[in-house]
């Protein structure tokens, strides 16, 4: 659909489009993880696993799913929209890191939305403001991979990784409160 509209987008447009598409892929892929679970199945999980291990399993599964999806969308982007990336290795690393961050945050938000017994709409409301800072950061770092003159700051990458670890910790601490019913 995109490639019908724009044939060879400029680097910055490519970058922006890529991350926004990633965001939507993530919402659609990850939102399902909690919303599609039936009540009975949740009760079954509740009886066999501790909340912390359950949420860790969910995070891990969604992370893997999102990593595969990220690579797939990167492939589709390069097929249809050309490949403006100069430094491929760092960019792929960044895509995986970004996919990881997105999936972690949206997994936790999906858990909240599922407890609120709402559809995916509430998840978008909750998720967009939380994800914007990370998206800005990701776009900023990935801009550097389009231009051989710019350097990629390791501190920015570390900041992203630190955010991800913080989200995991928060999920483990807070999820037991969501689960009790």
């Amino acid at each position: 659909m995109l490639f019908l509209g724009i044939e060879e987008p400029e680097e910055k447009v490519w970058n922006g489009l890529f991350w926004v598409i990633q965001l939507f892929i993530c919402i659609n892929a990850v939102a399902k993880s909690f919303l599609q679970e039936s009540r009975g199945r949740m009760l079954y999980f509740y009886s066999i696993a501790s909340p912390a291990s359950f949420v860790l399993a969910k995070l891990l599964f969604n992370t893997l799913l999102m990593l595969v999806m990220s690579l797939l969308s990167l492939l589709l982007f390069t097929l249809f929209l050309g490949n403006p990336v100069v430094r491929t290795g760092p960019f792929i690393g960044l895509v995986l890191l970004g996919g990881w961050s997105l999936s972690l945050i949206f997994t936790f938000l999906a858990a909240i939305a599922a407890r609120a017994q709402q559809n995916a709409a509430i998840m978008a409301v909750l998720g967009f403001p939380l994800i914007v800072p990370q998206l800005i950061l990701l776009m900023k770092i990935s801009n550097a991979t389009f231009n051989p003159l710019l350097t990629i700051h390791a501190s920015n990458m570390l900041l992203l990784a630190a955010l991800d670890i913080m989200v995991i910790l928060l999920a483990v601490i807070l999820f037991p409160f969501l689960w009790k019913d």
Binding site: P129, V132, L137, L170, L178
Partner: protein, 236 residues
């Protein structure tokens, strides 16, 4: 809960808040300020604009602390407190925006001065976006609260979201805007907390102003909390 009762029904800090604010207005509008290029007399807005943001952050912090308290005790009163501090924080955030817009129109975006940038360029200012995100997070908090009918469940889920959102708020308004180029001061550290940034004559007004605005906001919030507690009592 007796501790909360004590501070809510005492009046000394309310009087202190009013006195500090009167001092802020008198000293802030009449006092001596250093004459800086570009800022000139608008620097007096520091006593209002920056203090609003300080008070907002303090209120959001109190809100989160009460959210954590709720999850530890499951006492519905902490939930009411948490919610009311969040709403007052939003109001202060909007006021901070308003004062910031007035300030900006004199220092960055005066339409009569062709040297200044267009509004479109200013709207991309990272600090503006960051704070807009912060407010949206708390609007989302309110939306989430109102979407759940069951009271205990609402309290629990919104406390969880509150803590999560607060943790994500820090990167959005403290870290990310500092990584991007900006016109806004405070790029290299904490605005107004830095002793080099702020003149001694302004500091004696600035710190009381922060405390004054915070106390006023807490006063407003305690009234709302008391209304909330009364409604809660009537409902039972």
């Amino acid at each position: 809960m007796s501790k909360t009762k004590n501070y809510m029904y005492k009046s000394w800090w309310k009087i202190l808040g009013v006195v500090l604010l009167v001092y802020t207005f008198v000293a802030g509008l009449l006092g001596k300020v250093p004459n800086l290029p570009a800022l000139e007399e608008t620097v007096r807005n520091l006593y209002f604009h920056v203090c609003m943001w300080f008070a907002m952050m303090i209120l959001f912090t109190i809100s989160v602390i009460n959210g954590i308290k709720y999850l530890r005790t499951f006492d519905i009163r902490y939930d009411i407190i948490s919610r009311q501090y969040a709403t007052t924080g939003i109001v202060l955030g909007l006021l901070g925006y308003a004062t910031g817009a007035i300030w900006m129109s004199y220092t960055w975006a005066d339409p009569n001065n062709p040297a200044f940038q267009s509004f479109g360029a200013l709207a991309r200012e990272p600090k503006l976006i960051g704070t807009a995100i912060a407010l949206l997070i708390y609007f989302a908090y309110l939306v989430l609260r109102d979407s759940i009918a069951d009271m205990d469940k609402r309290a629990r889920i919104s406390a969880v979201y509150n803590i999560f959102a607060y943790a994500m708020l820090f990167p959005s308004i403290w870290i990310v805007p500092r990584l991007l180029p900006s016109l806004h001061p405070g790029q290299e550290g904490n605005p107004a907390m830095n002793f080099k940034d702020i003149d001694a004559s302004m500091r004696i007004v600035f710190y009381p102003a922060v405390i004054g605005w915070t106390l006023l906001a807490v006063w407003i919030t305690t009234i709302k909390i008391r209304i909330g507690l009364l409604k809660e009592k009537k409902w039972q």
